[in-house]
Subunit: 266 residues, 3 copies
């Protein structure tokens, strides 16, 4: 993927304002919606039984994040995954903190069988989703990105998903490709929802990429490049995790092609 | 309504700190509470069965927003509407994204029959609440404010509500009056909850207006004028949707009579 | 407790990044997580039945805040309290707005019997938890801190908890000690979750204090000193409640020993 591709997909997000259905955890709903709005997408948090399925079928993209999976959200998540699959809506699974916590772990294993277009998580979550490890402690990873590449490949092969492993350098993996996106800012790890909101942005980029003729793998890489560039700009314009957050939203909103050229892809 | 009236109601909010019960969606609880606090009101999010009804009866104002209407919130919403009606607590209905989504649409139609003091929504939501159209796509309007005036009038006549239709220029409609409030900032549409928090502020202004001898219609107009003025000031003091949010809260907190004189009402 | 002790516990939080399980209200989840991250702790919001208990047992500290206690959270809260007690995890009870609201009042009375390591609330909440008064109106206190000292002492004696009463000057009370922490900023009362997030920070400081050989009482006082110092710095660097919030997170992140020396403890 070239910088030109990242710019193409970003421009498409801004031009078409894809409607992104989000089922996500209660900690990050607000930040996630603001991140999508700043980028030019149209978020809607529809996470109850009876509404989530039809909405996922009609949306341009869908996120399912299992971070606070109460009974209502578990039902809504399965409905949304089934409906998105049938309607062809690209969707993203974020298996937050799975491994030791039983409800979300069972739910994520059920969801991945519905063949998400993309899966995003930290190394421990991806390893746990592949059935190859016990998960991290809390929401943080106990494993390095590079140690999760086999697990990511396994998920990609079994379920056809593009798998994004987040870390200091992110790895994006499909059945036959790997890309890495570095840069960004560690400050993003000091804002809750930095990773969770990325999952929603992936859904927006999958929707926009499809409309622009960019495949799912390149759309996910483009998304990481954009997110990383915005984080770098925000880090330059802030003095701590508090001021980083508004600076990050401003950067996503104002990000230009010249900004994207500053990011190194490997 | 004159600027003097807007200032009177705002001063009353700050002097009396009306207690505003909020049943609202999980995306905007935090921002809504911060908006109310910045203005000088006292928010409390009480949204469970067994507590919501008694709280609405004792509060100075009440918001019911149907944005993430899980089963517990649906029950709490009906309890709060009934209790507010019996106790004479002024209350606001915000029919977020109704039309195609079945749970919230049914709930909003039930709630409006309890005769809310005010209804606030975008044009598509107001048209859907009047039974005159299918609603928007996601949380955004597919209709222009001016095309919703008949729907707003219909709701006002049937249920006695003041109906506020949000858009680039807001329209406030009762059975026999119409007012418009322009100005503001499109930046408010890039912050999730810009409209939802306005619904809570209307509840605070209805409570304060009553105490100050200002009727419901003028109180709702005053509220829009204040909100719009703060948005304009915030837009001048920010560089994107991220920095707009804290600037907006600062502006609500610091808003003066001189600031209000800058807003044009039609 | 000396400033040196506050610095010791803060350094330990930053060095060890204690994992803090949070069951808290939907209004403040995001801010609470960001406050913990800014300080160097590792938050995780695990608040459903089947997960909350095992998580509380494995965490370094646990918060249980009853601010939006739906049925799932009520079950999860009891599970977490029991599990924390058995595992020896230090935990904090925050009895938000108890008194007149029946669900949370009953829940808080059940929870305090599980002997929380610390209890944090405003004066009205502490008086209501001791069974000595009807609680405040909404989430704000109707009583002065000093008038709650007897109630705090009563809770401390019956349940072995350190009891922190928040107000313009905070009082920290055990069965045989009292300390006061002043300073801070009234701006913190204009940001929703200012008190709720403090409850989570107390859990982090209890965990870190234990690891550093500082007892629970001194850890709670240290926590208040740090929080108060950060609020003062933030107030100096902001122009309203909106800009105060990011400034507060930045201040928590950057707080130095020299900053702590500016706080007066009585």
């Amino acid at each position: 993927m070239s910088h030109a591709t990242a710019r193409t997909v970003l421009d498409q997000v801004r031009a078409a304002a894809p409607l992104v259905g989000c089922i996500t955890n209660s900690v990050v709903t607000n930040f996630t919606a603001n991140v999508l709005l700043a980028l030019g997408a149209a978020p809607a948090m529809v996470d109850i039984i009876g509404e989530a399925g039809p909405f996922a079928a009609a949306a341009d993209g869908q996120l399912i994040n299992v971070g606070t999976p109460g009974p209502e959200q578990r039902g809504a998540s399965m409905d949304a995954a089934v409906a998105a699959g049938r309607a062809g809506t690209p969707w993203v699974l974020d298996p937050v903190a799975i491994g030791r916590l039983i409800q979300r772990t069972a739910l994520a294993h059920q969801l991945v069988k519905r063949r998400p277009t993309a899966v995003r998580g930290n190394a421990s979550e991806i390893i746990a989703l592949a059935g190859l490890g016990p998960g991290g402690r809390g929401v943080e990873s106990s494993d390095e990105v590079e140690s999760a590449l086999g697990a990511a490949r396994s998920i990609a092969e079994r379920f056809g998903s593009v798998v994004a492993v987040s870390g200091p350098t992110d790895a994006i993996v499909s059945a036959d490709r790997v890309a890495r996106v570095g840069g960004g800012s560690a400050m993003l790890t000091l804002v809750t929802g930095g990773g969770c909101a990325l999952g929603a942005v992936i859904a927006a980029f999958l929707a926009a990429g499809r409309a622009a003729g960019v495949d799912a793998f390149d759309s996910v890489v483009a998304c990481h490049a954009v997110y990383s560039a915005a984080a770098e700009i925000a880090a330059e314009n802030s003095s701590g995790p508090g001021s980083f957050q508004p600076a990050f939203l401003d950067a996503l909103h104002g990000l230009s092609g010249a900004d994207l050229d500053r990011i190194a892809l490997s």
